[in-house]
Symmetry: C2
Subunit: 398 residues, 2 copies
């Protein structure tokens, strides 16, 4: 039994070949069909996509009342496994206390102290909150455990809700290793990585990630990051990198050189970084996280310049307790448009098609694809940025 969805004022397919031929470049990029219809099988696979007046007959119909339908957001960078409250740190930062990554230790202590069930409930609540805002696919990193057992526990809890888990033992050097950083890198690349991959390379984690940031005493420099990423790659994990967040650094070029799926933040780039990203098009995505710049009062990366240079640009939330406790992809889209010079269409594409690619996924709405959809209480995706801050988009429950 198939379900016919009608009353779709505008459908973003992310398939330029499928659009209905509008001259608008944004509509072309998104493969927009106006007055569209969709048929979904009862096991959640798209069976038919097209103009409403050409839709086939089905047993069941549902009228979406003139709303816009988009691919569900793919949030490809989150840190959802944590306990504790750092709102006071945020308030202090807004009145001048700079961010250097040191507050991560607060979350590490609270996360270690939490029970499995407490962490599981926190993660479930955050994933539900994201789904209520249109996110249907989420990547989740470990990184607030920083012991072998606590990192494994974080990954297990994350894996219960998503296939897209990332081992981030190299989030920061924990306090207990501050005087022997090399020993911590050995722990991450040795016993931790062995345990993460013990049941098969991607049994627990799809990717490995590192916070490569010479400007933070807590994070990892280029040589340490290379060691960690090469070990992860050798163990069969895909690579992701936190790079160039707090200042210029080697993260972006290292990610491109090693074929990482994504390098995230990209806040402080020089010309060589942009050239490396452009040359890595099709392999390495630049994932921008403007909620972080908002919540740390940092300058924003120049998304416009990256796109114009030919870089694959994705958007994600970086939902985490320190630098951005926003799980809202619509908010990231609004910031991309207001602050980074991206068009509404580019921002939506970045938060769906490109972020999906950084997780090895295809996020088009096309026959044979899973029906991971979101619906907007408005006739056009333009309203995501136009109605900044207003909760008008949610995952579509079929």
């Amino acid at each position: 039994m198939s379900l016919l969805l009608t009353g779709i004022a505008e459908l973003t397919t992310n398939d330029p070949a499928r659009g209905d031929g509008h001259a608008d470049p944004g509509d072309a990029l998104l493969g927009v069909i106006r007055d569209a219809a969709l048929v979904v099988s009862d096991d959640g696979v798209v069976e038919w996509v097209g103009a409403a007046d050409e839709a086939p007959d089905t047993d069941h119909r549902r009228d979406l009342g003139g709303r816009a339908v988009i691919p569900g957001f793919v949030d490809s960078h989150t840190h959802l496994v944590f306990a504790g409250d750092r709102s006071a740190e945020f308030a202090a930062r807004m009145t001048g206390t700079p961010y250097d990554g040191g507050g991560i230790a607060v979350s590490v202590a609270a996360t270690r102290a939490a029970s499995d069930d407490e962490l599981r409930a926190l993660v479930a609540a955050r994933v539900a909150e994201m789904r209520a805002q249109g996110t249907t696919t989420v990547e989740i990193k470990s990184g607030y455990g920083l012991t072998l057992d606590d990192e494994l526990r974080s990954l297990r809890i994350a894996r219960e809700v998503t296939a897209h888990t990332t081992f981030l033992g190299a989030h920061v050097v924990p306090r207990e290793y501050a005087s022997d950083r090399a020993a911590y890198v050995d722990l991450v690349t040795g016993p931790m990585l062995d345990a993460v991959t013990a049941d098969g390379p991607t049994a627990l984690a799809e990717s490995i990630d590192v916070f490569c940031e010479p400007h933070s005493a807590h994070a990892f420099d280029g040589d340490e990051a290379r060691t960690i990423l090469e070990a992860g790659r050798a163990a069969g994990l895909a690579l992701r990198v936190h790079g160039n967040q707090l200042g210029p650094g080697p993260g972006v070029r290292l990610a491109c050189e090693l074929g990482a799926r994504s390098v995230d933040h990209c806040t402080f780039l020089d010309d060589a970084d942009v050239e490396a990203l452009a040359a890595a098009r099709g392999a390495t995505v630049a994932t921008l996280l403007p909620g972080v710049e908002f919540s740390t009062r940092s300058p924003y990366p120049d998304g416009r310049a990256l796109i114009d240079a030919g870089v694959d640009v994705a958007l994600a939330s970086d939902c985490n307790p320190g630098t951005c406790y926003s799980s809202s992809i619509p908010f990231a889209i609004a910031l991309a448009v207001r602050e980074m010079g991206m068009t509404p269409a580019e921002a939506l594409h970045a938060a769906t098609a490109v972020s999906a690619r950084s997780l090895g996924l295809d996020r088009r709405i096309a026959p044979g694809q899973p029906a991971e959809l979101a619906v907007i209480d408005a006739p056009s995706h333009l309203h995501l940025a136009y109605r900044a801050g207003v909760p008008i988009v949610r995952a579509l429950d079929l």
Copy 2:
């Protein structure tokens, strides 16, 4: 029968005398009580406020599960009575088309063409959307009618949902009067104002407002604005002013001189404007609308400097189809903290206590006050800015 609300991790009373004596200046401003309880009568009046362990017995109890409770937001500047869609104008502006107020004519045409029931349904949906985001009191302006009949209709429809209606016949000079501005001012101050006040000074509108903006060919200069405001005052209406939005101008000083309850936008101020506002403290509020600066890519007003100068600063949404189609007060609060140097406590105070004052209301949580409350899915009001873009606050239905 009274209802006891328990499980309140933090209660913002807006009554400094009622706070539990924290040293934090934000908590003092907000009159914060931690681990609080509230008793509400069955006709919605606050009967008791205090520490949970001192709460009286009541027949009914409701546990809010460790959430924060705040006074419901008072959105003291909105334009909710309109039809039509201007999302494409927003998208064009984000790629460089400047805003000059000319797009208002698009909304005027669509609003005039809509039926009463269409407008009524649009307003109801917007008020419900705001309530779902924590706003319990809303001011609504006319201003997309700009004929006698259409302005009256807008005010009647607005008055069905709020007592706080504002006659904004002087939103812009409509196209049909472009070559005879004086005739339009005569219409506003004569037949329109007579009709608005025919059944008593405030039977249909509580206030009169004018878009005083020499930088827009569509809006009103200082002399025109004075004529309109003086006529409104003589007819018994309170005064509100759109001032200094697009550039320096006479709006702010005029508002202070005439004893307006509020002058709104205040984006471009000189020292004399700030001095006038500080001198008008207790009479005239400066209502900042940062969603407008976000959605028009304008510089933000310096909220910090205004507060430090002794100005009463309120926050509101300016929800309207042109310059800010955001109805989100939490978003305005996040912008106030990120972009205007206000503390989270100052921003919350501005969006409740001070905006209320600009409508002649008292928005403290105290015995005898109406229980207009909002509840946050977090233990502290700090999360309103900390969790930017995430829908965590809603009006509390009792």
